[in-house]
């Protein structure tokens, strides 16, 4: 089911009389295509979960509309929207077994939809098989690992075959290894069912690795929506550029003068077709080329080898942040000096942003 948000806004009133109200979600207006896995990405407290809660009906929007396909569901109570929600801490009913947890939504069906006990158990078993927990049906949630509980929560959300599956930080309570495994699992389940799935995360790597599309938001304001690689390569502003990618993008205070880009005294790029003045220059870690004759002069701090990546850590007076990280393939690593290093930069990995608005400046 396609999910369309139309000028969706949520304002929370202030807790006390003096405080100001909080705009958790500000004028969201985009369409989530059918059958896709969408990652809703943003730093903690930016209103991601509120968007999710509005889509599933636990929160009422202050203004704006929500459409599932052609149907306006804004005023429809959550149980009639046909959504499944996986909570951050799973919210499995601790006193019920796995089977009872999964059949719970089915037992609430009334009228024509009402199912017999056999049908309910059959459906529960199908959902359990999908998430591969069919051997644990008689356990209580307290007797299971976090990863298993997570699967039960997904099975419970899926058992009614929802039109839209929503997940609130589904991986944040899992350890690192399980997180990798479970995110592949979510991808597999989503592909197997074809249900439009929206998941919330603050972890950009998580969002990038499994989503068909990511939506980046900040302080309740929509930033960008696109395929993960597209957002990484082509961010609309400095925030999005900084938020995506590990190691993070290296940001310099730079200046454009006569179509030439200067970082300090170093002219790092020419034919930059923008108007003169100071800019933010962001260079991705993989955008550096080690070169004895390179344009950008930096002071060498050290070389970090982390698994497959070798990164050169250096500093430059014009940088922001702690240091500059340049990822270089190991065979190119030839350092001639102990305290200085010079780079050339790749044009397609260098992004310019307006000094004031931080919006992207396109050149060429």
């Amino acid at each position: 089911m396609e999910v369309r948000l139309e000028h969706l806004t949520k304002i929370f009133p202030s807790r006390d009389k003096k405080g100001s109200e909080v705009v958790a979600v500000n004028d969201f207006d985009f369409t989530i295509p059918e059958g896709k896995l969408i990652g809703l990405l943003g730093p903690s407290g930016c209103g991601k979960s509120t968007v999710l809660y509005m889509i599933c009906g636990l929160e009422k929007p202050t203004s704006g509309k929500i459409y599932f396909g052609e149907d306006d569901v804004t005023d429809i109570p959550s149980e009639k929207r046909g959504v499944g929600l996986v909570f951050q801490n799973y919210a499995l009913y601790p006193h019920l077994t796995v089977r009872q947890n999964i059949t719970f939504p089915l037992e609430n069906l009334k009228g024509e939809e009402k199912l017999t006990k056999e049908q309910r158990n059959q459906k529960a078993l199908e959902a359990a098989k999908l998430v591969q927990i069919e051997g644990l049906m008689d356990r209580k949630p307290g007797e299971m690992s976090g990863g298993q509980q997570q699967r039960v929560a997904i099975a419970r959300a899926l058992v009614k075959m929802p039109k839209v599956l929503l997940m609130d930080e589904p991986l944040s309570n899992l350890d690192a290894r399980l997180r990798l495994q479970t995110r592949e699992e979510i991808r597999r389940i989503q592909k197997a069912t074809g249900i439009t799935t929206i998941f919330v995360t603050h972890d950009q790597e998580e969002a990038m690795s499994i989503s068909d599309m990511i939506v980046v938001m900040k302080d309740g304001i929509f930033q960008q929506m696109d395929a993960p690689q597209k957002v990484y390569d082509d961010p609309v502003n400095l925030f999005v550029a900084k938020f995506l990618g590990t190691p993070a993008i290296n940001v310099f205070e730079a200046e454009v003068n006569d179509k030439k880009l200067y970082i300090g005294e170093d002219m790092v790029m020419d034919k930059v077709n923008v108007k003169d003045g100071p800019v933010w220059c962001g260079i991705r870690p993989e955008g550096f080329i080690l070169d004895e004759e390179g344009a950008l002069h930096c002071s060498l701090t050290g070389v970090d080898v982390m698994g497959r990546d070798t990164s050169i850590v250096s500093t430059n007076p014009k940088m922001t942040g702690l240091n500059i990280r340049a990822i270089i393939s190991a065979e190119d690593l030839k350092l001639t000096s102990k305290d200085s290093v010079r780079f050339n930069i790749k044009r397609n990995k260098t992004l310019l942003f307006d000094k004031e608005t931080e919006a992207r400046i396109y050149y060429d």
């Binding site: 599933c56 009906g57 636990l58 959550s78 149980e79 009639k80 959504v83 499944g84 929600l85 909570f87 801490n89 919210a91 009913y93 601790p94 006193h95 719970f104 939504p105 037992e107 609430n108 069906l109 209580k140 949630p141 307290g142 007797e143 419970r156 959300a157 009614k160």
Partner: protein, 306 residues
């Protein structure tokens, strides 16, 4: 660390553990275990004389006397009626009030305070007020009887009138007295249920009643069992409540309780009959123990795990 080192630490650990427990244990043994054993022994000593500390022999006469004493049988009947009515009614009422308290936002604190007031009020003072409310004298009908009259029904003296009327007042009084504590426990139990379960249940399409019976009730059931168990024990030990309303001569009023009977046997009639009192106390102990064990078994079987 060597194996023996570990072992020694274990023994030392146990020893120091007992040492820490010793003061509390000493108090328990002196003031709980020893008296209990003593009472048990008294209850089998026939014709015990407290002045000369002598007795004729050992046997079950004290028990057979007590069990045939109409005052004791009346007290047992009263106590059981009190237990059977007040424990479930007060628990259910407290649950309903707690649910209401938990669902309101404005004035919640005020209402919580109001409902808690009886807990800190003196029982005898409350009893006096109840007596004045329910009493019917040649001079005045009392507030309750005036209301009954206004509804067009016949008035009745609740304090010195028929048995059912007196029992009714006692039950109402006991329920009123025990409710604040139950409300306090249940409101905090309800508040401690993670709201995420209610959200999940709403998404799952559960109705309000279903949420209550399938989610809320199982989640607070340990607290409910706690209240039922302590409620049973408390009601079996009721005494001051009856005194507060009907005065000290409870046997004459026909409103004595088991604890009241024990007390009367100890101190009534100048010196009293400690052997009979002990026998009655042991019978009460056996009843309370049985009921509590049954309660615990039931709660173990139905209480949620994990």
């Amino acid at each position: 660390m060597t194996k023996s080192g570990v072992k020694r630490e274990g023994i030392m650990g146990t020893l120091s553990g007992w040492l820490y427990l010793a003061p509390a244990l000493a108090f328990l043994i002196f003031f709980m275990v020893y008296p209990l054993i003593d009472v048990f022994i008294y209850s089998f000593e026939e014709g015990y004389n407290s002045a000369s500390q002598t007795y004729f022999g050992i046997g079950g006469y004290n028990y057979s006397y007590v069990l045939r004493d109409p005052y004791f049988l009346q007290a047992v009947k009263n106590t059981f009626i009190l237990v059977i009515f007040t424990v479930p009614i007060s628990t259910i009422l407290a649950l309903l009030i707690s649910l209401a308290l938990n669902s309101i936002e404005k004035l919640k604190k005020l209402f919580q305070t109001i409902y808690f007031l009886p807990y800190v009020t003196n029982t005898l003072a409350v009893g006096l007020v109840f007596m004045i409310l329910f009493r019917k004298t040649p001079y005045t009908d009392g507030l309750i009887n005036m209301m009954i009259k206004a509804l067009g029904m016949t008035t009745v003296d609740f304090i010195e009138g028929p048995y059912w009327a007196k029992m009714l007042v006692l039950c109402v009084y006991v329920i009123w007295i025990v409710m604040p504590f139950k409300i306090l426990i249940l409101t905090s139990a309800l508040a401690s249920v993670n709201p995420v379960y209610y959200k999940a249940a709403r998404i799952d399409g559960a109705s309000k009643t279903r949420i209550f019976f399938k989610i809320t009730l199982p989640m607070i059931s340990p607290m409910i069992f706690y209240l039922v168990i302590t409620g049973f024990i408390g009601a079996f030990k009721a005494y001051s409540d009856a005194v507060a309303i009907f005065g000290v001569d409870l046997n004459a009023a026909g409103m004595n309780t088991m604890v009241g009977y024990v007390y009367d046997m100890l101190y009534g009639d100048g010196g009293g009959y400690p052997s009979y009192a002990s026998a009655a106390a042991i019978i009460l102990f056996a009843i309370v123990l049985t009921i509590t064990v049954i309660n615990l078994i039931v709660s173990k079987k139905t209480a949620p795990k994990g």
